[in-house]
């Protein structure tokens, strides 16, 4: 589904990714781990199309299409979703409006009519229940005045409503207490399916206790230094990143 080959990326003239290669197949969950500054967030932002990231070499295909050639909104409509580490607050833009506009943008792209307003609200309400979110969130501004944990839950809510084919979650677990972590993990697990893939960026293996990955990759200085199954995450937890970083050097 997603094939990344020899990806080099600079941000403001600084090299962040240095020849990253990765393949994610439909149905898989990949965890990207690594020390601060290793390029984890850069990777998912480049995949989502954030401006300011310059791809100097390499290619990325999504279902055989050149992903990097698409505008961010086109990537989203093709089914790529980025769950932000720090979701921005947008006062004045209503949560439910954004959700509806996003769903309709994707439907239009697929040649479908706009979603029925009542069915849509039912859908959103059921997903909110799963995320244990209060209905008052709907009428509030996007992330406006939300706590850190509420923002993360809102990201997962959006993911559940949009049903992307490739979800990139950037440190969605950071700053969550254990209850919130379980709710978020529940949300992710509820969406796992053979047609869908996940790339989870995380610092700690804690999330991976609840969302069990198929593959774990350790990023060091902008490339994958080591890959393995979920036991790699456990080993990292014991031995620390220096273990892999030392090997990579």
């Amino acid at each position: 589904m997603l094939i990344i080959e020899d990806l080099h990326v600079t941000v403001g003239g600084k090299k962040i990714l240095n020849g990253l290669t990765l393949e994610v197949r439909a149905g898989e969950v990949h965890a990207i781990m690594g020390p601060n500054g290793s390029g984890k967030s850069t990777l998912v932002h480049v995949l989502a199309g954030r401006p300011g990231y310059e791809v100097t070499r390499g290619r990325v295909t999504f279902d055989g299409r050149d992903l990097l050639a698409l505008a961010p909104e086109e990537r989203a409509r093709e089914g790529v979703f980025l769950g932000f580490q720090y979701p921005v607050e947008i006062p004045g833009v209503n949560n439910v409006y954004l959700l509806k506009a996003a769903v309709n943008a994707a439907r239009k792209h697929r040649g479908l009519p706009e979603v029925d307003a009542f069915e849509f609200l039912d859908l959103v309400r059921s997903k909110m229940k799963l995320m244990q979110m209060d209905e008052s969130f709907l009428s509030r501004g996007v992330n406006e005045g939300f706590s850190g944990g509420e923002k993360k839950r809102n990201e997962i809510l959006q993911m559940l409503v949009l049903e992307p084919r490739l979800a990139l979650l950037d440190e969605t677990d950071s700053g969550l207490d254990i209850d919130a972590l379980k709710i978020v993990a529940n949300g992710v697990n509820s969406l796992r399916s053979p047609e869908r893939a996940f790339v989870l960026v995380t610092h700690y293996q804690r999330l991976l206790d609840y969302v069990v990955p198929d593959r774990v990759h350790v990023l060091v200085r902008g490339r994958i230094a080591r890959s393995g199954d979920r036991t790699l995450a456990l080993e990292l937890e014991k031995r620390g990143y220096e273990w892999v970083a030392g090997e990579a050097a």
């Binding site: 989203a76 409509r77 932000f84 921005v88 004045g92 954004l98 943008a105 949009l162």
Partner: protein, 439 residues
């Protein structure tokens, strides 16, 4: 530059004097005002507080008022849809048009009279209309000198009329046939409460000149919600003066929406004369193409523990300019003053210009005054967030513009009016539908 202009004003005044009704403004008063104008001249762009308004356009305008039409050719259908629950008074080129009006029920405790003023009301207005310093009443003087008609509203002590009346000022004239001087005097007696809508529209797209003047006096513990919408035609020059005096415990809330005109300038001057008086000035403007929207808002705190809240949200696209100069003066003895200003401009075009300027002059201790002013482009992080959810770039940008205006638009508590304003905003932002309607 102003000398020939004032000479021309005097000349046009002489020629028009015989048709300026004495019941509206007594001839002697008109003469006095003309003398003031001749002495002081009209402002120019060299005046500190008039830098942004397009005053040069005045040179092409006639000052004598448009001759009232003998047969009204307008139909109610030509006008903006009325707001349910509000009586409507329509003025065409500054002259009352009863056929296009739908008067208030007499039981409301509020009266509107056209042109006649009781002596009692005159005295109240005169006593209360001490202008804030340094007030600028030159265009108000022009208005009063030339006014053909006036809407005088009096809310009697204790009258409760929260959804009261709409004053619709329609300009049909063009610059060659003369100017329009919409005029409104509002006298709100103690404990009265009033909701007022004031709209300025043009029919037709010819160049025109209007200089509205609004004079407001709020008695003790009175409350007024005043919604003002400026939707003049694309070639209109609109120079407006609003003056208000607010007594003890009274609350005046002004919501201004400025969309139309080639050049629109509002001079708003509020004096808080009594303890615990409150004023809220909430303004939104969307300017595009070559439009200039300029507001100067002066609030003078002349009594203790009074409160000011000022919010401005302006968007300038194309080569337009949106300016808001908000000045607050806290006089000696006005301790406990609470003043907040939030002025924000959004640049939506590479050649657009935003000028927001909060100014504070404080002559007493123990005050709480805060101000914030920003001018900038759409937030890149917000934009990327919306794009990453699949929204079209254009939709995302429009959504963020709405969100930017929302701080003021959401305060418009008359749902029907707000919907109409949202539709107008949509038009001004080149949209076919108001995004808010999709919610």
């Amino acid at each position: 530059m102003t000398a020939p202009l004032t000479a021309r004003i005097a000349e046009e005044f002489r020629a028009a004097a015989s048709r300026l009704p004495a019941g509206v403004v007594p001839p002697q008063r008109r003469e006095e005002l003309l003398a003031v104008l001749t002495r002081e001249g009209l402002p120019t762009s060299r005046d500190e507080n008039w830098k942004y308004a397009n005053l040069r356009a005045l040179e092409r305008m006639r000052f004598a008022p448009v001759a009232p039409r003998t047969e009204p050719s307008l139909l109610a259908a030509d006008l903006p849809a009325p707001i349910q629950g509000y009586a409507r008074y329509t003025f065409v080129d500054g002259v009352f048009a009863p056929a296009l009006s739908c008067p208030l029920e007499s039981s409301s405790g509020v009266t509107l009279s056209v042109a006649s003023r009781s002596r009692e009301a005159s005295e109240r207005l005169a006593a209360a209309s001490a202008l804030p310093a340094p007030a600028d009443a030159r265009f108000a003087a022009l208005n009063e000198a030339f006014a053909l008609d006036v809407a005088r509203i009096r809310a009697r002590t204790g009258a409760q009329c929260p959804a009261c009346m709409e004053l619709l000022f329609v300009s049909t004239g063009d610059a060659e046939s003369g100017a329009a001087y919409p005029r409104l005097e509002l006298d709100v007696e103690p404990d009265a409460r009033l909701g007022l809508i004031e709209r300025h529209v043009s029919l037709g797209a010819e160049s025109s000149f209007s200089a509205p003047a609004v004079d407001i006096v709020l008695g003790r513990n009175a409350a007024v919600d005043h919604y003002r919408v400026q939707e003049m035609g694309p070639k209109a020059l609109w120079i407006d003066t609003l003056t208000a005096g607010i007594a003890h415990g009274a609350a005046y809330r002004l919501y201004m929406v400025s969309l139309g005109a080639a050049s629109a300038r509002s001079t708003i001057q509020v004096r808080l004369t009594g303890e615990l008086a409150e004023v809220g000035l909430h303004a939104v403007c969307v300017a595009d193409r070559h439009q200039v929207h300029d507001t100067f808002a002066l609030v003078e705190h002349a009594a203790p523990r009074a409160k000011t809240e000022q919010t401005f949200r302006g968007i300038a696209g194309g080569r337009a300019r949106a300016a808001f100069n908000g000045k607050v003066i806290v006089r000696e003895g006005a301790h406990g003053t609470d003043s907040r200003q939030s002025l924000r401009g959004l640049l939506a075009g590479p050649e657009a210009e935003i000028d927001v300027r909060p100014q504070l002059e404080i002559y007493t201790d123990d005050v709480r005054c805060s101000h914030g002013a920003t001018a900038g482009k759409l937030d890149d992080d917000m934009l990327f967030y919306l794009l990453s959810r699949g929204l079209e770039r254009d939709t995302a940008q429009r959504l963020l513009k709405w969100a930017f205006l929302e701080d003021v638009v959401a305060k418009i508590a008359v749902p029907e009016l707000r919907r109409q304003i949202e539709r107008s905003l949509a038009g001004q932002m080149n949209e076919t539908t108001a995004l808010k309607e999709l919610l």
